[in-house]
Symmetry: C3
Subunit: 343 residues, 3 copies
């Protein structure tokens, strides 16, 4: 990959930045963290705890917070700015546009669009994508290859569907939503009635509703509700290979890391953070702002703001304390045996 | 989603039901549980523990067991029937047929079917689906878009393949099987021989056999056997994102919840229930009717009827008891330290 | 499946083998392990611990190590050879070629290849596969159906892409790599900046680099790096449904079993073995040759050669010991209570 951006463009892009230092170089050609950066690279201080690494960094260009006190070395340029991480994101977006030139709007010659589907003229529909009856794709959407947009499903403006996304029937996707490759939206919920020792499928007539600004990771599955809707709230970001069961309601601005499993009818309030591979039993409520450690097993309601760990899940500090004591169990059993001998 | 069904149709659909109450309304327009139902909705008492919610339910139509003793309110209709859940399922199936009008049989113009493949004339083959040589698709099958049916693979009558299902070569799928979106059947088993520090692939010549009435969840993977077959028994229901290794044999009417991992050569007898994210080491036998809690780690054979939890897995009640005692470890260590001081 | 190979072919295939015994049969028609094999089957002693099963095996043909001392029964043929497992693999490869006759090279009539893509004339491109601009596919590659090869991505010679593999833009796949069905390579990393309570996407400009002789399991996801590359080292084998985060570096000849989750920026050295469903927190180093038990939760750096288990992970033998003692906790609490009573 060849990243490159002219210093002059950078200055234009960050009009509020205070510059110091000198640079013969007229462009930077890579981005790296402080430690790995070499001459020609741009680097940045995004987290105050790495402040000590700035003075040894070989980067040619450094994005630093306004209160950083050091001085640039020879052939080094400092950009002091309010939020270096944010500035970096802007630069990256610009580079991304260069690296992946935008595809012209329109429907690929190999795509198949049912007559009653409504596709905005500014949207892109990729090769081998199928768009079902009575569905709609909003303005500036980018639908890649091998996608399936089921009958009656709508995709809001500026959303992105990566290759092989499957949106089944009657689902609703908001604006600026990103669905990574292989995502399945609207698979049947896992619900069966038992009679005479056999499991009979319960039809799932509901839908999945994905609100604006959500991102869903690769190969993640979202089951449709039995009657109403499975819902992912505005601004929530779900990682890869996550399972979200039928009738689950997830609030706004949650973070759900890879391989988490959320059973049917869980209600998660806003701003919850869930570590990788954690699992939730069905029909629970998880309060606002709760944090769940990776691999935790949640089998009861979670209070707002709680921080839980382990299976069964305990308050984080108690779980940590018990972990430490467990390591001392061999010693405790030994000492107890000695006490007995003394008796 | 607009659900609606005329009361007259409902009466015809449930000829054994005993009606009581009056309703001006001529159709219901939604389905909801007892608590959430509003006027115009149909609701149901599927589980006796919710009996108390019937009298406060705002539903216009209620499906109730024969022995329910209360009376309908004004503008409320009771249908007393042997099994309300079953009745509901029938109603839902009927609604589902209305919501998703059946696609006409036939091969989509964009599909590609090898000459030697045999497709029943009542089957549907969706857009961009590939059907390989010497394969067969039975009567009334519904194969959606972007599916791959490998060479020599057969799909029994009335089976449903959702979008993007991949059936690799020489596999056998029974009748009335449902494969959700993104399912992979017949991927190579994870088996390597080591020599000189390198891992050499072991060819997997076997197949996957899926018996009748099985359902497999979205993005679940079933590896083919080394020589013989990986088998999923009749009536077993597997949830999303499950991993089933090579040579695994799963019995009849098992329930395997999302993200479970079953290593190679595990033999699971009939009617086993496995909670989400549980894992099984290779070459184990799991006895008939065993229950495995979510996130359990099974590393030894499991007796028929056993109920295990945790990793290492223990009988459920012992595991619960130990969990409680672990929470008391800080106290035990404190008290033990005090005893020592007394000495 | 009908496996069959003539005895004469077998003798030609294994010129170093020492034969003993007699067989009227002119070909074998199945392969099975020692215990399951019946007359007409070939079997093998791959692991010395099954030596005792040879004398009771009903197999017609047996592959045995040079030092095996028993004698063939009537109608049984022994092939003594240095490495029976290796011999078996060779035989299986030969059978595999028969079972799945190689597809003729060339681009399927339904595939879509951008003009600037370079496809070697000996490569096969399957039905409905999309090959993007400025990408390349090397000699003897077999790309199956419904694959996506993104712009600027290269695939080295003799690699195999099973159905529905998605290689996003600017990735690099080495030689003799096998990507099983549904693999996603190059999805966006899970990285967000927070500001004003919202999560803002961090662009991921890097790539994924898969070195030679790697195999990746079905529906596994590999996220692209933020700037540089996510890397899978030569000869490493990754199982199904694994999550590999952005900027992860995995060494050579590692084994990573199904459903493992590896968070961003983990560095794993060579020859690491990771059991199923284990999870790694971000930014860790895992030393050469370390072994991680299934379902372990790794939150700290791992020493080379360490063998860890549990969450929090402990040295394997300590973890085992603690598991045993935990089962004795009810007894310990009882005894402690009795001591107190005595006081």
């Amino acid at each position: 990959m060849s990243l490159s951006l002219k210093v002059a463009e950078l200055i234009k892009m960050l009009p509020d930045a205070q510059l110091s230092g000198h640079l013969v170089l007229k462009e930077f050609t890579g981005i790296a963290n402080l430690r790995d950066a070499r001459s020609g690279d741009l680097s940045f201080l995004g987290n105050a705890k790495y402040k000590g690494q700035v003075k040894d960094s070989q980067a040619s260009i450094l994005l630093l917070p306004n209160d950083y006190e050091g001085k640039p070395k020879d052939e080094q340029l400092f950009f002091r700015i309010k939020d270096p991480s944010w500035a970096l994101a802007k630069i990256c977006e610009s580079l991304e546009r260069k690296l992946s030139p935008s595809v012209a709007p329109g429907i690929h010659e190999t795509a198949f669009v049912e007559e009653s589907a409504q596709i905005d003229s500014s949207a892109t529909i990729g090769a081998f994508t199928y768009v079902g009856a009575n569905s709609s794709v909003g303005s500036n959407c980018k639908v890649s290859t091998h996608c399936h947009i089921g009958a009656g499903t709508s995709v809001g403006e500026s959303s992105i569907l990566h290759p092989g996304v499957k949106l089944l029937t009657r689902c609703v996707v908001g604006k600026r939503v990103i669905l990574n490759a292989g995502v399945v939206v609207g698979s049947d919920g896992y619900g069966f009635d038992q009679s005479e020792g056999m499991h009979h499928k319960i039809p799932h007539l509901g839908k999945v509703l994905i609100e604006d600004d959500v991102e869903i990771g690769a190969n993640t599955c979202l089951d449709r509700a039995r009657f109403e809707e499975t819902k992912i709230g505005k601004g929530t970001k779900v990682d890869n290979l996550v399972q979200i069961g039928h009738n689950v309601k997830i609030g706004k601005n949650c973070l759900i890391v890879a391989q988490v499993g959320i059973s049917g009818s869980v209600e998660m309030e806003d701003e919850v953070i869930v570590g990788g591979q954690a699992g939730f039993a069905g029909h629970l409520t998880v309060g606002k702002g709760a944090k769940i450690a990776g691999q935790a097993g949640i089998t009861k309601d979670v209070e707002p703001g709680a921080f839980l760990k382990g299976n069964p899940a305990l308050p984080f500090h108690l779980a940590q304390r018990i972990s430490v004591l467990q390591r001392k169990l061999p010693d405790l059993f030994n000492r107890f045996a000695q006490e007995k001998t003394k008796d």
